[in-house]
Amino acid sequence: MSTTKLPVLAEQGEPDTDEGRRALLKAAAAGTALAGLSGCAGFSMEDFLRKHFRELSPEELKRALAKVEAKNRAAFGRETHVTAEGPQEGVVFGYGLDISRCVGCRRCVYACVKENNQSRQHPQIHWITVLEMDKEHGVDLAHADAFYDAATVPRPGKFYFPVQCQQCRNPPCVKACPTQATWKEKDGIVVIDYDWCIGCRCCMSACPYGARHFNLAEPTLPAAELNPDQHYLGNRPRPKGVVEKCTFCIQRSRKGRYTACVEVCPVGARKFGNLLDPESEIRKVMETKRVFVFKEDLATQPQFYYFYAT
């Protein structure tokens, strides 16, 4: 295209510090690179220069939330309620999935789409992938099919293995993110700040579970199907070019509710609760059933457990 030399970061001051970064961005904003960007629909300088989510003051956070609500109003013509509820004290979430019960009906997939405002078609984004596997081979990705089509389920000789974000204690995606747009919260939920995501997809290639999904095109979400109960780090509508993933329905679980997939599962294969509470369902599962984590050898240490109740 042209022979323009790209700016080298080190020449532009100290980008490691917040001031350095802001100074750099402000300097860059004056340049031609951003002149094009600011012409984009929905782009504002304030969004672009916003501090990291965890450094926002209560006042700034309130403004950010109001802004999302205003954006929703403009884009969908609907009133929404956006919160940024933090993790509860003394709570670490754990999720259990009973492989011996799941029948592969995919109700969870679509309940999740509805609850979390995913793009419906082009791109179609599902946070849960249900794999059909052979009983003969056991849990083996070499004999797994995510695109099974059946008149009725379960099919003989098959079992079903739903995969979603495993909320790793040692998350490779967080390490891979160059902008710290994704991080692990105190209650164990790995969240994404869509305003800080630059869409490089490093996290997607780092995730061994295929749990992260990219908005390759402008998301398609009918206004009538918008879930107005939203969380800033969860199900608020995403722009094109950002990565998204399961957040254990952060907008529900942080308020004490079960996730949408737990509530829709017709076989009760999905269990959710506080790992620090010895009376919780997930603890009872771990204490009395055969439990394993997916791809244990990668030492990602998921907070998502598979188990066999029979």
């Binding site: 995919r106 009725t152 389920v153 109740a309």
Partner: protein
């Protein structure tokens, strides 16, 4: 300790302890809840966990609408002239028949193996007589389904919300409306899966 106290004691446990109190009126057992740190009156004020409504066929309950409690009932095992829906699918072990579980005189309740009445809303106690391992798992939330709050009030699905007691092997469930209430009821057909996800090449417009 603060986080434990948020957990409400399931209603079934409360019922069980109340039942234990009622059955054994000796002072020794009466002191048992006090040992747990709360008098029965205080514990009754805790938010209760609800069990889901049993999925009766529309308009069939109360059974005493047709069955006169005073009528003389033959306990002979026989083919019935009514309740074809249940009789035709009855496949629960080898030897079961109606009056093993339904009370012969008061049809509005079930009947334990020991002859004690069990209301339909607590049918899990009847099922648990044989399926004790499942009842144990269900009470702690490992078997079966709950909706509501992970940290508080939740609704338990009864055994019969998912398993037809007359033919208990799980096939599928569907939402039904009975007496204006939306409840889950077992079906006799397997579930049809939701559409498969689009492959990458199908996503291109």
């Amino acid at each position: 300790m603060a986080i434990w106290s948020r957990n409400v004691r399931p209603r079934i446990e409360l019922l069980a302890s109340l039942a234990a109190l009622a059955l054994a009126a000796s002072p020794a057992t009466a002191s048992e809840p006090a040992a747990k740190g709360a008098p029965p009156a205080a514990r009754a004020l805790e938010p209760l966990v609800q069990a889901n409504t049993p999925p009766f066929s529309d308009g069939i309950f109360p059974c005493s609408g047709c069955h006169d409690p005073k009528a003389k009932v033959s306990l002979e095992r026989r083919q019935l002239a009514f309740h074809d829906d249940q009789q035709s699918v009855l496949k629960h072990g080898e030897e079961r028949w109606c009056l093993d579980c339904h009370d012969a005189q008061n049809r509005d309740v079930l009947r334990s193996a020991a002859g004690k009445p069990i209301p339909f809303t607590e049918s899990y106690r009847l099922c648990g007589q044989c399926h004790g391992d499942k009842l144990r798992d269900w009470k702690v939330g490992v078997h079966g389904k709950r909706v509501g709050r992970w940290d508080g009030e939740k609704t338990y699905f009864l055994c019969v919300n998912c398993h037809n007691p007359h033919t208990p092997a799980w096939k599928g469930v569907s939402d039904v409306v009975v007496d204006g209430k939306r409840i889950v009821s077992p079906t006799l057909e397997l579930l049809k899966p939701e559409p498969r996800p689009k492959r990458a090449e199908e996503q291109r417009q």
